[in-house]
C-alpha cells in the first residue's frame, strides 16, 4: 500500500483514486474507500450520500465553485497536480478551505514533490501523496522549512503586517 504524508506522520494510504471512465463505460468502484472524479460523483451524488468511504478529486482546470454547497460532508477531497509547475491546484485548495469552508482531509496528488510541500500546506492541504521516487523521510523538513510567513493563507488568518503592528 502506498504511503501518504499527513501532518502527524506517514500513513498507509487506503484510498484508491479512480480515473474518469471512458465514454460509454460504467464507473467501477474498487474495494475499499475510493476517490471519484468530481464531475462523476456530482452526477450520482445522491447514490453516494452518507458514505464515509467515498471522496472526490479535482483536476487542476476544474472549478470548485460548482461544488461549493455539496462538499461539506466529504471525508476526503484530492486535488491533482498534473505537473508540479501547474499552480492552479494552490488556488483550488485555498478556495475549498477559505471560501467553501471545507474542513475534511485535503490531499495533494499527482506530481507532488518535496519542494512544493510547504506552499501546499499553506494553501490548506493536510495530506500529500508524494511522488514515489521522492524521499518521504525529507517531507517533514520540507513541510516546515519556514517558521514564519508574510501572507495570510489557509494556514494563518492574519498577514505579518497585522501581527507586527500589534
Amino acid at each position: 500500500m502506498p504511503d501518504l504524508i499527513r501532518h502527524d506522520g506517514i500513513h498507509n494510504d487506503e484510498w484508491t483514486l479512480v480515473s474518469a471512465p471512458e465514454e460509454g463505460q460504467e464507473l467501477i468502484l474498487p474495494d475499499g474507500p475510493a476517490l471519484l472524479p468530481a464531475a462523476v460523483w456530482k452526477e450520482n451524488r445522491n447514490h453516494y450520500a452518507g458514505r464515509n468511504d467515498i471522496g472526490i478529486w479535482f483536476d487542476s482546470h476544474e472549478e470548485p465553485e460548482h461544488y461549493s454547497d455539496l462538499i461539506g460532508d466529504l471525508p476526503v477531497i484530492a486535488v491533482n497536480f498534473p505537473k508540479f509547475t501547474d499552480g492552479r491546484g494552490y488556488s483550488i485548495a485555498r478556495l475549498l478551505r477559505e471560501r467553501y469552508g471545507y474542513t475534511g482531509e485535503l490531499r495533494a496528488v499527482g506530481d507532488v514533490l518535496l519542494d512544493q510541500l510547504f506552499y501546499m500546506k499553506r494553501c490548506g492541504f493536510n495530506a500529500y501523496a508524494l511522488r514515489a521516487d521522492k524521499d518521504i523521510n525529507q517531507a517533514e523538513h520540507c513541510l516546515n522549512v519556514f517558521s514564519n510567513t508574510y501572507q495570510a493563507a489557509a494556514d494563518i488568518e492574519e498577514p505579518l503586517f497585522r501581527r507586527r503592528a500589534s
Binding site: 499552480g87 494552490y90 488556488s91 485555498r94 512544493q116 522549512v145 508574510y150 501572507q151
Partner: protein
Amino acid sequence: MYVYDEYDRQILNERVAQFRHQTDRAMAGELAEDEFLPLRLQNGLYIQRVAPMLRIAVPYGMLRAKQLRRLARITRDYDKGYAHFTTRQNVQLNWPAVEDVPDILAELAEVEMHANQTSGNCIRNTTTDQFAGVQSDEELDPRPYCELIRQWSTYHPEFAFLPRKFKVAVNASENHDRAAVQVHDIGLEIVRNDAGDIGFRVYVGGGLGRTPVVGPVIREFLPELDLLTYLEAILRVYNRYGRRDNKFKARIKILVKAMTPEVFAEKVEEEWAHIKDTPTRLTPEAIERVKTFFTEPDYAALDDNPDALVAQRAESKAFDAWVKRNVDAHKKPGYSIVTLTLKKTGVPPGDVTDRQLEQIADLAEQYSFGEVRVTHQQNVVLADVRQDQLFELWQAIRPMGFATANLGTLTDIICCPGGDYCALANAKSIPVAEAIQRRFDDMDYVYDLGDIDLNISGCMNACGHHHVGNIGVLGVDKKGEEFYQISLGGSSQRDASLGKILGPSFAREEMPEVIEKIINVYVDKRTEEETFLDTYRRIGIDPFKERVYA
C-alpha cells in the same frame, strides 16, 4: 529606506538554508534538472550561454552604501570583478559558479539582500520611479507601497507557479512615468480621488516581449487599503485562467485580450468581492509603519541656485552641460538629483567594476545620505545632493567614468546583455550600442538633438525595451546571421506607445549609418520646439522610410 526586523531576517535566512539544501540535492542527483529549474530561477540563478548568471534583486531600485560594498566584494570573490545593472533595476553577475550560489546568497542576506523571484514564473521585483520621494510633482512617495507589495509577494504560497512571469510597477509622478507602468503586467499609479483620498489607478495586461501591448485601465480608483486584496484577486484570476498550454501565450496580457479588459475587470471584481474584507486588507498602521522607513533625510535649510554654482557653471562649459543633462530638480530648495551615467562609450551599458561599486558607495555617503537608486535606464542616481557640492561631485566623478553628460540623449542607450552573454539572444546588442555611440561622439551635436530614447534588445523577449524606444533596435536571426530591425515612435512615458517597424532589417555594420539617416530626417524636419518623438508623431514614418531605403 526599509530596514529588516527580526521577522524579515529570519525568513530570509531560512530561504538561504532552503536553497542550500536544494542545491545540494541537485548536485547529488536527487533533484532532476527540470525539478531544480524553477527553484533556482526563483533564487535568481540562470544557466547561460557561457556561464551561469545570478540576478540579484534591488527592491524598487534602492541600495545602501554598505550593500554596494558587499556587491563589490562578491563580484571580486565569486565573479570577474564586475556587475551589470539591468533594465528592471536589478544587478546581474555574469560568471558565478553554481555551487557558490548558496554562499553568495548568504553573503547577500547579511546586508538584507537576496535574489528572490528575480526570475521564474512568479511575481518579480516591483519597480518604481528612481526619483520617488524627491520630486515635487508626486502625490505621495510610492516606495512604502512597493515595500508592502514586496512583502506580500515574497514566497506567496498560491502564486509561485503562475503560467508565466509577472511584473508590477508603481508610479506616483504626475508629469512623468519613469516606471513605464503601462507596459507591465500590473501598473499602479498613485492618485487622489475627488474626496481627496489616496488610491491607485490600476492598469493590467501591458507588456513588451513577443506581443507588445499598452495595458488597459481596469480600475480608475482603488482605495489604498485595498491594494493587496485587489492584487490577490487579479493574480488568482490569472493563476486559474491564464493559458498554460503555450509559453508564448501565457502572459496575462493574452488573457486580458482574450477575455476583453471589461470582462477581465468584472472577473477580478467578482473575486475581489469575496476577499476584500479579509485580514489581507491593509491597515493604516501597517502603511504608517512602512512609511517611517521612507521619511525625509536631515536636509539643511538652503536656497536654490547658490552664487557659487552660478559662477561655476559660467566658468566651465563642460560642468554646465553636465548640470543641464544629468542633474534634475529636487523638491527641496538647494538640493538636486544627480544621475551617474553608466554609458561611457566602450563600456557595455549598465556595467560597473567592483572598484566603481565602491566608488559609488563612497559618493553616496559623502554626497547623498548613504543611499543610491538604480534606474531602469541602467544608470545610478544620487537623489539628495546639495547644489553647493555639485561642482565638487562632478570633479570627483569625471575620472571614475560616471560624468558622461548624455542622460536622456541618443547615446544614453538602454541595452540588454545580448548575444555576448544571454542564451536567449538572437543577436549581439552591446557592439551595436558602442558603434552608435562612436558615430555620435560630438556631444554638442548630441545635445542639440535633445531627448531621444534609443533602446536595443538582442531578441524579442525585449529586455532592452525596444518597443518603447523612440528608436528601437531588435536583433533578429536570419538563417544563422544576425540582423537588426528598427522601429520608430515608441514611448514608455505617460503617453505610452509602441514603435512601428520601419522596414526590412539591416546588417550590424550598417547600423550607425542607418541611425544617422534617421536622425538627419529629424534634423531636417523638426520645428524649433520639437523633440524627435514630436516630429515623428507629426510627420509619420514615411519620410524616414524614404531616406533610409533610398
